[in-house]
Amino acid sequence: MATQSAEDSTTAGHEADGVRRRDFLNVAAVSFAGVGTVAALAPLLVQMSPSADVLALATTEIDISKVQPGQGIKTQWRKQPVFVRNLTPKEIAEADAASMGDLRDPETLAQRTKPGHKNWLITLGVCTHLGCVPLGIGDGENKGPYGGYFCPCHGSMYDTAARIRQGPAPKNLMVPDYKFLSPTTVQIG
């Protein structure tokens, strides 16, 4: 191809046309430098990611034996608040009564709790809107009109299954991975 186009060329100076060895060397050199530069950027980007000590805080054990029905506790997992709530039969009934069509992020209470532990609602205490801690876990805090949680930042309202009912948040409060180690001990993460 290169020879062909050089022969067809009518311009003076055959060096100016076609692919020369120097073109190849230029492309190779610039590509090599480009790949090298991108490779050099990698450590500058990955240094921002969570470090090993942050990732190591991935599991937490909590004792729930002291939490009476209708009460809740606030604990920490991965530096984020976790709400553990012992639902009353009335609250469970309210959560079960909600029709799926009214929910922005449809999930049943049973899907959000462990089998046989339907009264234990364990969620992150992080509003799915912009990450504030909703009110409603402590005694006397504003639980909002749906009896669950109320986020003071932008007015998101959650029901007794911590599902989003009104306000700007798009999702239900996140249920972290957890398991019951014993009837009174939960491991999160």
Binding site: S49, P50, Q80, H129, L130, L135, P152, G167, P168, P170
Partner: protein, 438 residues
């Protein structure tokens, strides 16, 4: 780069001549902000605010560098290093800290006046589109710098501000949450986030200073605009920047600095939030969480989306908030009226003041606790903001009949003074320009 009548730089002292032949830095300064830069003679006081913004940037850099000598960027130490060490122990630390805190607010006050000056007088129009766009880049950098600076004292508002603002990124589908975790270096704001915010808070003001140089460079190609919006045509339309505008900027800067000093000394916390004197607590959000006042209008736009419509409400809020600023980059092409100055645009002028009122309402709604009528008012005001730029401005520029423009800058200022100055009966009106003087 300048008009043909711009005074050339002529160093008189042999040392200055020696320097000029080797490094013509004084020549550059003379041409940029000295006697060698001809400026329209009819500028009003709204043209002082660019220089004022430069002064406040300098104050922030100087006080900031000094504060960084005493600040600890650790989650255990940050709050006490600001509130104990700097505010009580360091000599004059309280003054430097309050000067820096209020300096940020004043930087935004003068910048907002500067931006609205540009909106009213059409400073974004050809040939100054890039001046406008570089100004918006500076504004975005200012917002990033101010936000990260507010996090550094690690009080309750610092912490929850960081949580909410980095939460914006989680609104984007798929990449949003990993991006938020990457930016914070964890799942919630913590040591990693504080340290990187401190690093960037120290860096960005110098980036701003660099873009300011580009902003001024781009401005000096066509030269400064003026309240009539009419181009400079001849030498008597202009005055040299020095001594005329250095004197005017100088006294006005002294006046604004006096106001700044009064606030810094007598009401240093007026513009701040008392909750930031409570140490950060990752387990409790303050009941009423608001950003600093200069972000309130944007916060109102963010909060005004409460219902999902195709996209989640949260994503709409974030897109609208970013969009409200990005939109301004397209302003030179949204407003196509050939008349620059709002002073000669009767319809535009009314809508301009409506926009000012709208932004004030957004600011009020963004700073106040939510209730049903404030939410509705915020939604209305947010909608108007976008309608103003995307619908009203293009329509007004298409249908409006502007008022007659003066034939030149000098004829708009010299209302027959030449005739007054001449002996009675001997006045010689110059043909054309006097007759059309507005």
């Amino acid at each position: 780069m300048s008009f043909s009548w711009a005074r050339p730089y002529e160093p008189k002292h042999p040392v200055m001549r020696w320097l000029d032949e080797r490094l013509p830095l004084p020549r550059l300064v003379y041409g940029a902000i000295g006697g060698g830069y001809p400026v329209p003679r009819n500028l009003n006081y709204l043209w002082n605010f660019g220089v004022l913004a430069g002064i406040f940037l300098t104050i922030q850099i100087v006080t900031g560098i000094v504060l960084a000598m005493h600040y600890f960027a650790t989650t255990d130490g940050a709050f006490n290093s600001v509130n104990q060490l700097i505010m009580r122990d360091v000599s004059a630390g309280w003054l430097l800290r309050y000067a820096h805190m209020n300096g940020a607010s004043f930087f935004f006050i003068v910048t907002y006046i500067h931006i609205f000056r540009g909106l009213y007088y059409g400073s974004y129009k050809a040939p100054r589109e890039l001046v406008w766009m570089l100004g918006l880049v500076i504004y975005l950098l200012m917002m990033a710098t101010a936000f990260m600076g507010y996090v550094l004292p690690w009080g309750q508002m610092s912490y929850w501000g960081a949580q909410v603002i980095t939460g914006f990124f989680s609104a984007f589908p798929l990449i949003g949450e990993p991006m938020r975790v990457w930016l914070l270096g964890g799942y919630a704001p913590d040591q990693a986030a504080l340290t990187r915010f401190f690093s960037l808070h120290y860096l960005l003001p110098f980036v701003i200073a660099g873009v300011v140089i580009l902003h001024i460079w781009a401005l000096h190609i066509p030269g400064s605009g003026n309240p009539t919006g009419v181009d400079v045509k001849e030498e008597r339309d202009t005055l040299p920047f020095h001594p005329f505008y250095t004197a005017k900027d100088g006294w006005f800067a002294a006046f604004v600095l006096l106001v700044y000093a009064i606030v810094t000394y007598f009401a240093p916390d007026y513009l701040g939030h008392p909750d930031n004197y409570i140490p950060a607590n990752p387990l409790a959000t303050p009941a009423h969480i608001v950003p600093e006042w200069y972000f309130w209008p944007f916060y109102a736009i963010l909060r005004s989306f409460t219902i999902d419509f195709i996209l989640p409400a949260k994503l709409w809020g974030v897109l609208a908030m970013f969009g409200s600023i990005l939109l301004l980059f397209f302003l030179p092409w949204l407003d196509k009226s050939p008349v620059r100055s709002g002073a000669y645009r009767p319809v535009f002028k009314r809508f301009f003041w409506l926009l000012v009122i709208d932004v004030v309402i957004l600011g009020y709604v963004g700073g106040a606790p939510l209730n049903w009528w404030r939410t509705a008012l915020g939604q209305l005001a947010s909608a108007y903001y976008f309608v103003h730029f995307l619908v009203i401005l293009p329509l007004v520029s298409a249908f409006e009949t502007p008022d007659p423009l003066p034939s030149s800058i000098s004829s708009s200022v010299l209302h027959g003074e030449e005739a007054e100055a001449a002996p009675a009966g001997q006045a010689k009106p110059r043909g054309g320009s006097v007759a059309t003087a507005g």
